[in-house]
């Protein structure tokens, strides 16, 4: 089971759901438009398959993931709960309420991942509101911490496999996933201007041409 806590990643989330067969890929073109089922941030109200809870207002997803894990435990279900969080999102206090709880109550079927791209809306996280030593923070809260290169599929698969093996050992697990925004597109990497800014048709074509794998089916 997966929870997207940083709901503003909805475009990615919807793409993955559509291409995994939850709904028609063509519906992606309705994103953020009037009467769409694909709201700017994920919501359950439209009955879009694959969405279990609304998100968008940050800091709430880890609590929800923990609740789902507790229910599974009561139901005798050992399957793993996954969650994704922004790094800027970790500035919200509720995350740390949830982190404290998970460790204190030994919720050990959770693998939380942080999209550690070092950026938030007003600038680099280190300048806006530094998280300090994030690894040390999670460890101090009683979590097992893994690190992963989010722009390398092989590394993702390897670390995720390791994380799964570490569940069920009385400690929750967090993966700090280092990513670079706009990775692989030369005019999008290393700049802040594409955070929340959509490319026009010409820019989209240029960007997709630079990526080894593009899906181009829209």
């Amino acid at each position: 089971m997966f929870f997207l806590s940083n709901g503003h990643l909805s475009a990615v989330w919807y793409s993955v759901l559509a291409r995994s067969g939850y709904f028609d890929v063509k519906e992606l073109a309705t994103f953020r438009k009037l009467n769409t089922r694909l709201q700017g941030h994920p919501a359950t109200a439209e009955g879009l398959p694959g969405i279990r809870i609304a998100s968008g207002s940050l800091g709430q997803g880890l609590s929800v993931a923990i609740g789902a894990a507790l229910a599974k435990k009561l139901n005798g279900d050992k399957s793993i709960i996954y969650s994704l969080h922004g790094d800027g999102e970790l500035e919200e206090g509720q995350n740390w309420e949830a982190a404290m709880f998970a460790a204190a109550k030994k919720v050990d079927t959770i693998i939380a991942t942080v999209d550690y791209n070092g950026k938030q809306i007003d600038g680099p996280v280190d300048e806006v509101m530094s998280l300090g030593n994030l690894k040390a923070k999670w460890e101090a809260f009683g979590w097992l911490v893994l690190e992963m290169n989010g722009n390398n599929i092989a590394d993702i698969l390897s670390v995720m496999t390791k994380a799964k093996e570490m569940t069920g050992k009385e400690k929750p697990i967090v993966i700090l996933m280092k990513t670079e925004m706009g990775f692989g597109v030369d005019f999008m990497m290393g700049t802040h201007k594409w955070h929340g800014n959509a490319p026009n048709d010409e820019q989209t074509e240029k960007a997709l041409a630079q990526l080894e794998e593009t899906l181009g089916d829209y």
Partner: protein, 239 residues
């Protein structure tokens, strides 16, 4: 004026505590959460009988609401317990997004509501909670008037599909609703028929309305007394 007999003086929060225990015995999916106020919320009996179905979050109400929402995804029926101000104002966005808008089957049970809280003072005496909860989609708001009604309501909401805000209080107040009276969500009670004036009352003020009706009757004024139901503002929407 219809005669009401006071059969005791009990705090409505104790009605919640007894109702929660009974709901828990009836349905194994009923679970409970509390934010460091088990005694005040009278949840001790439930905690003692169903320790594996109880989750103590400590003083972390936002996390408590989120966990409750997540528990519903596994088919559980979570009852959260803390003071009314912490149950609503403090966690409004958590309720709005994770519970109400996501239509999760969470029962937010709030004690120590209103001015009757008394000595703790204004920071704890919330009056805005009913208004806050009424405006949320999918949220049913219940403000009970005595011990028996609170117990019956607690049991009834376990069978209701959808989020609920159940509000009750700290002090001992008159018990006058029959013990075996089932609570029907959304149904107002016509406590006295009358033709001169209508009094709508909710919560602890219902008994005060009855007392007022008696005084008015002595003065020859015939008061109609009805318990008012905090209506969800979305009930008129097309959704």
């Amino acid at each position: 004026m219809k005669k009401y007999t006071v059969t005791g003086q009990k705090d409505t929060r104790s009605g919640f505590g007894e109702g929660l225990l009974e709901a828990g015995r009836k349905n194994p999916n009923v679970v409970a959460l509390c934010a460091d106020l088990i005694g005040s919320l009278k949840m001790d009996a439930f905690v003692k009988e169903f320790p594996e179905r109880f989750f103590q979050t400590g003083i972390a109400e936002a996390n408590m609401i989120g966990i409750a929402a997540g528990l519903t995804i596994g088919g559980k029926i979570p009852f959260t317990g803390t003071f009314a101000n912490f149950s609503t104002g403090r966690v409004y966005d958590q309720i709005r997004q994770s519970v109400a808008y996501s239509n999760k089957n969470v029962k937010i049970c709030a004690s120590h509501a209103g001015l009757t809280l008394g000595e703790d003072g204004a920071t704890h005496q919330i009056l805005e909670d009913i208004g806050l909860m009424k405006g949320l989609p999918n949220m049913t708001v219940i403000n009970t008037c005595d011990f028996n009604q609170t117990k019956a309501a607690t049991i009834a909401i376990a069978d209701h599909e959808g989020p609920v805000y159940l509000r009750f209080g700290r002090p001992k107040v008159p018990v006058f609703i029959p013990e075996d009276q089932k609570f029907i969500i959304g149904k107002a009670l016509l406590l006295n028929e009358g033709k001169d004036v209508t009094i709508f009352a909710t919560g602890h003020l219902v008994w005060k309305a009855i007392e007022a009706g008696e005084i008015l009757a002595e003065k020859g004024i015939d008061a109609e007394i009805i318990t008012s139901i905090p209506l969800n503002l979305w009930m008129f929407s097309p959704y």
